[in-house]
Amino acid sequence: MEGSNGGWPATTGQWEKLDTDILIIGGGTAGCLAAVAAKEAAPELKVTIMEKGHIDRSGCLAAGMNAINVYMNPGETPESFVRYVRYDACGLIREDLVLSMAEKINEVVRKVEQWGLPITKDDNGQYAARGRWNIKINGESLKPIIAQAARDTGACVLNRTVATNYLVVDGQVAGAVGFGVRDGKYYVIKAKATIIATGGAAGLYKPNNDGGAHHKMWYSPFNTGAGYAMGIRAGAEMTSFEMRFIALRTKDIISPTGTLALGFGAPQVNAKGERFMATRFAHWGGEGAPTPIRVWGPTVENKEGRGPCYMDATHLPPEKVSELKASYLDMYPDIVLYWAANDLDPGREPIEIQGTEPYIVGGHCQAGYWVTMDRSTNLGGLYAAGDVSGGAPYKFVSGCWAEGVIAARAAAERARAASHPELPDPVLVAENNRIFAPLRRFNREGDGVSPQEMEERLQKVMDQYAGGVSTYYETNEERLQVALKQVRRLKNQVPYLVAVDLHELMQAHEVIDRIDLAEAVVMHLIYRKETRWPAYQSRLDYPERNDFQWLKFVNSRRNPETGELEVFTRPYERIVDGDRYLPRG
């Protein structure tokens, strides 16, 4: 492709056709484990990882992790885990998926420990618990450890390669297409089975830090919903986009509060020093309330004038404060720098907290592909694992590993039996044109809309009308209709996107994917006419939970005939007994 001022290499747009047996899109938490499991299940198969970054430090684990937050500690079972997750998700989950994930957890954790992950042990040589489902690790190098394991199995890794769409032949997924961020080549990768493991989506909503700190956020800002958008465009059935995730974090620097609450026993207090969760939110379970309520609590305190809110760790002696800082250095080092820069001592004064902007993520909430027990989607040959896969919240790191393993075993079975279909050339030519359009437009016109401009516009619309930070996460039918109209206007602006180089081309596709996802998120929010998960999904016009009408999943699928996104419901199925609104019920 013709270059402009040397902005992109001469190989840009050139076709690079590759064949593989199993294609894994996204080499993060789920993808690396899927690669290992696929090679273990079928060593003769060729396994290829297509990764936007570099697998050593890509995805959510770039900075590390200081705990494994799903582990069946002694006395717990997959069934007790399902009861807890069901309670935490306000009564609605895919119990079959959560059970199957829980059954694999301890096996995958032991496996990663054997690869070199340091897990803290107690005096009896057992993993040291940090809460009911949590164990302590020294996980700064967690990502390079699992990346090395994936490489060691002989999986082929395409780093810096962005996936843009599936190859679909007769309703079956036959691989994917994308482009290289370094070489600019147009990658056409044929596969007998494809696993999508691209993670969730940040950046749909205006972040609560802006300007120079706009990427100071909870989720990886480089997880931009590619897997969701590719699925939506290809007609995959998706679930629960309305159950957005909002993290309770320390103010400004957005570091995790789980470390404070679970690791160091810090309660939430409001500006008056009142333990509001234990008083005003006692009926929800107080400090042990479901996760959405623990972010809704301080949001209400702020809204009603009792903020700022804090987590109080002033009971900690200096050696424990030092331990707290060490714990953060394993996953969120910049809070230690933030305290040092602002002369803050968490042992002397409470730490201010806030809710983040909303994210779409299947590993904390349950937005994503509607899958069967083996993580196959409604599109033949396509499997989903990790944050991009729906119906099974509370996965976190180890649950994503477990899903990667489950999906890989099913994908290996299919790949052994399947063959490569013929791909129609006109479809491939059209996708090449779609991918490189922002570079071509820049070459031709020199003017248009930059990815950053489009991202900011999308985030403003979603924030103001679809329940962002500025409206305390609440919204109603009328606001959502405005959001839908404006997001659709943005879709029509996509042809005006310009990119000056391959980095901006990547950003252009990130914003295209976010817009396609945002449309689906708004349609899901409109459809659920109750408030099931306060903060995550708060309807001012339907403020109560309504089990009679809404104890069911909201799903969507683009109708391949009409091109329209259709929203419908799927029933909830109870497998594990007990009270759905009690953690041990």
Binding site: G53, H54, D56, R57, S58, G59, A62, A63, G116, P118, N138, E140, S141, R160, V181, N209, G211, G212, A213, H214, H215, K216, M217, S220, P221, F222, D252, I253, S322, K325, A326, L329, D330, P333, D334, V336, L337, Y338, W339, A340, A341, N342, D343, H503, M506
Partner: protein, 105 residues
């Protein structure tokens, strides 16, 4: 968020196919300036502050700098990566120094 490069230390990793910071940044933000051969960040706004590049830099040339909108100027947090551990040195605005040794293997 941002990363600052000390030009007196950065060698541009000329012997490697790709400098460590360029290879590993999860946001594809690190690049080498073709004029001076030193590392730079494409857009300081877009850094997630994961510190992958800071920890991987073989020359100790990169430093994380919090955005001024969030934090005072004057504190530093420096990781020194060893075979099986990281030695973190934190210096606060008043010059007080804390050191942490954390295992990675």
């Amino acid at each position: 968020m941002s990363v600052v490069c000390d030009h007196s230390k950065c060698t541009g990793c000329r012997k490697l196919d790709e400098p460590k910071c360029v290879q590993n940044c999860p946001g594809n933000l690190m690049a080498i300036d073709p004029v001076n051969g030193k590392a730079f960040i494409r857009d300081p706004r877009d850094c997630w502050d994961c510190m992958a590049c800071v920890k991987l830099c073989p020359c100790g040339a990169l430093r994380t700098k919090l955005p001024y909108v969030l934090a005072d100027y004057g504190a530093t947090l420096v990781p020194r990566v060893r075979e099986d551990r990281i030695i973190w040195t934190c210096t606060d605005v008043k010059g007080r120094v804390e050191e942490f040794v954390i295992r990675t293997k």
